[in-house]
């Protein structure tokens, strides 16, 4: 079974196309291990910052039909303790790790990247797109092609590890931003971070449900947005893509693949089904391959991607 799902990604052979994305069940080495045991091919750390962050006060999540809002506020133990969890993971597991980092300026990004460069992690991901720390940090970096370029350029000089840029879906044109990332030397893109942000209100207490008022949308309802952006970027930009957003079944993984993703993140679905969702998803992919007479996942063709005018 495993062979059929192997994927080549930035020079590495990955056992399974399923990625545990940043921020979902990744605060401890144990949950990273649990993800691999259950069938993930790569795991991502929580977005790490220079200093530890307790994150926003609760409520930090709110559910609605088709998805959830979260405003965790980038809680994490800081880069040093965060990397310790990664090293502990690596003592038992060989599966590749993506370390996600978050900062608000080039200097901090460089400092973080340097630390990751010295770690056993295989990949570095830049979270340029967290929509939940607006009050603190303003509009996500990923809204500006210029800033995206500068940060990636600087980070690339600090590390020889492949760099993945995680972009925001909350822009009216993704291509200029993806192009900037490519020009600056990004090795891959992760699409998408959470959508919106959105807000929900408790009408009896007349308060926003989230303490942070606003939170990023994830879950099944954002899949169409992810697919659209992946398809668009894949048609025009020649970078591998980690497709993330609303995936909860093997058929969703194939949909992401056809849109242009090389690997597929499964985040919020872990909430609905626990980590053994990965096992289920892998079985469903195999089922599809068999029904459609493909030997390998890599044999499944992409959508015919007519290059569209801008």
């Amino acid at each position: 079974m495993h062979k059929r799902l192997k994927i080549k990604f930035l020079g590495s052979e990955i056992d399974s196309p399923i990625v545990l994305p940043a921020g979902v069940m990744d605060m401890s080495f144990s949950s990273l291990q649990d993800a691999i045991i259950n069938g993930a091919g790569i795991v991502t750390s929580k977005s790490l910052t220079v200093q530890p962050r307790a994150g926003h006060e609760g409520p930090v999540v709110a559910e609605f039909e088709g998805g959830m809002l979260n405003a965790m506020g980038l809680c994490n133990p800081g880069i040093d303790d965060g990397l310790k969890e990664i090293e502990q993971f690596k003592t038992n597991f060989a599966a590749p790790v993506i370390v996600s980092i978050f900062a608000t300026n080039v200097h901090d990004f460089m400092q973080l990247a340097k630390k990751v460069d010295h770690s056993s992690a295989e990949f570095l991901e830049l979270n340029l797109s967290c929509p939940n720390v607006f009050d603190e940090f303003g509009i996500p970096l990923a809204a500006s092609p210029q800033q995206v370029f500068e940060i990636i350029k600087a980070v690339k000089e600090m590390t020889s590890k492949p760099v993945i840029a995680k972009l925001s879906p909350n822009v009216h044109a993704i291509i200029p931003i993806a192009e900037s990332a490519q020009k600056a030397g990004a090795d891959a893109l992760c699409l998408i971070n959470t959508v919106g942000p959105g807000m929900l209100i408790d009408i009896r207490m007349r308060k926003p449900i989230l303490k942070n008022k606003f939170g990023g949308m994830s879950g099944p309802c954002i899949k169409p947005i992810a697919l659209k952006l992946i398809y668009e970027v894949h048609s025009k930009i020649g970078l591998p893509i980690i497709g993330t957003g609303g995936v909860q079944s093997g058929e969703d993984v194939i949909e992401m693949w056809m849109a242009g993703a090389s690997l597929v993140g499964v985040g919020t679905a872990v909430h609905y089904n626990g980590m053994n969702i990965f096992t289920k998803i892998k079985q469903e992919i195999i089922q599809f391959l068999e029904d459609q007479n493909y030997h390998l996942l890599m044999d499944v063709p992409r959508l015919p991607s007519q290059v569209r005018e801008k």
Binding site: E57, P59, P77
Partner: protein, 260 residues
């Protein structure tokens, strides 16, 4: 998707100087050991075990300890609170002779459990322990149930002078129990574990909860990586024996490890 409920506090009962029970008139379908997340949208959102869960009402019993609980203690009957849940795993409800070991403000969840055990015809023995008389809770409530009770205090100010663990060790030697349930401070549970070589048990463990829906990873426990908000807070012997974290450390809001 669990719907959020915004409910008026129906009644507030003062248990001790620092412990209050908040009652809500609403039917909540829950099992003993499960918890709810409670918020007033001002001071954060925190987990509390259900202490009472009847056909038409439920309650939580809260110890004043920090910001959130201090604010909660300011609330009046008729004030709104918003809750979501119930969440998490629950105690196995036995039909046999069982021992319940409780420490301090973690005892009330054993009251909800006792009620379910009794309606399942189990034979229930309870050790209700605290540092001192003033911190013993639910004494009257347990008293009205048909169970065998032992009260212990560290300073002997009420009941026997002993810890819950000492008392448990003693009873387990003399009497024949088929299952032990425990809820209390982690170091108490950790000590108790050593006394339970030959008997099956379930403990309720507390870890830092943020999402409570199994997505953020704040509450995982090493090295299993299981989510204490979904697969916990009640864990069985098999899982507890595999834990390297239990009794040694837990993680705070940022995910940093904090020793006990």
């Amino acid at each position: 998707m669990i719907k959020r409920l915004t409910l008026k506090i129906a009644r507030i009962e003062t248990e001790t100087k620092n412990v209050k029970t908040f009652h809500f008139s609403h039917k909540l379908e829950a099992e003993p050991g499960q918890f709810i997340m409670v918020t007033d949208y001002e001071n954060g959102e925190k987990p509390f075990s259900l202490s009472i869960c009847e056909l038409d009402h439920f309650a939580i019993t809260v110890k004043r300890i920090g910001d959130f609980t201090n604010q909660l203690f300011q609330k009046k009957c008729g004030d709104y609170l918003s809750i979501r849940g119930p969440y998490g795993s629950s105690f196995f409800v036995s039909k046999k002779k069982v021992l319940l070991v409780g420490g301090g403000c973690a005892v009330p969840t054993l009251y909800f459990l006792s009620k379910r055990l009794l309606s399942n015809n189990a034979d229930v023995t309870l050790i209700n322990g605290a540092k001192t008389k003033d911190e013993l809770i639910f004494v009257d409530k347990f008293h009205s149930l048909f169970i065998q009770e032992y009260f212990v205090t560290d300073d002997g100010s009420f009941g026997e002078k002993a810890t819950s663990v000492q008392k448990a060790e003693e009873i387990l030697k003399t009497d024949n129990f088929s299952f032990v349930y425990a809820s209390g401070p982690e170091l108490m549970l950790f000590a108790l574990k050593d006394k339970l070589k030959k008997i099956n048990y379930e403990f309720l463990l507390e870890r830092y909860m943020k999402c409570a829906i199994g997505v953020c990873g704040s509450c995982t426990i090493d090295p299993l990586g299981i989510r204490m908000c979904v697969e916990g807070p009640v864990l069985n012997r098999e899982k507890i024996e595999k834990l390297t974290e239990f009794g040694h450390y837990h993680r705070d809001a940022s995910g940093k490890r904090i020793g006990f």
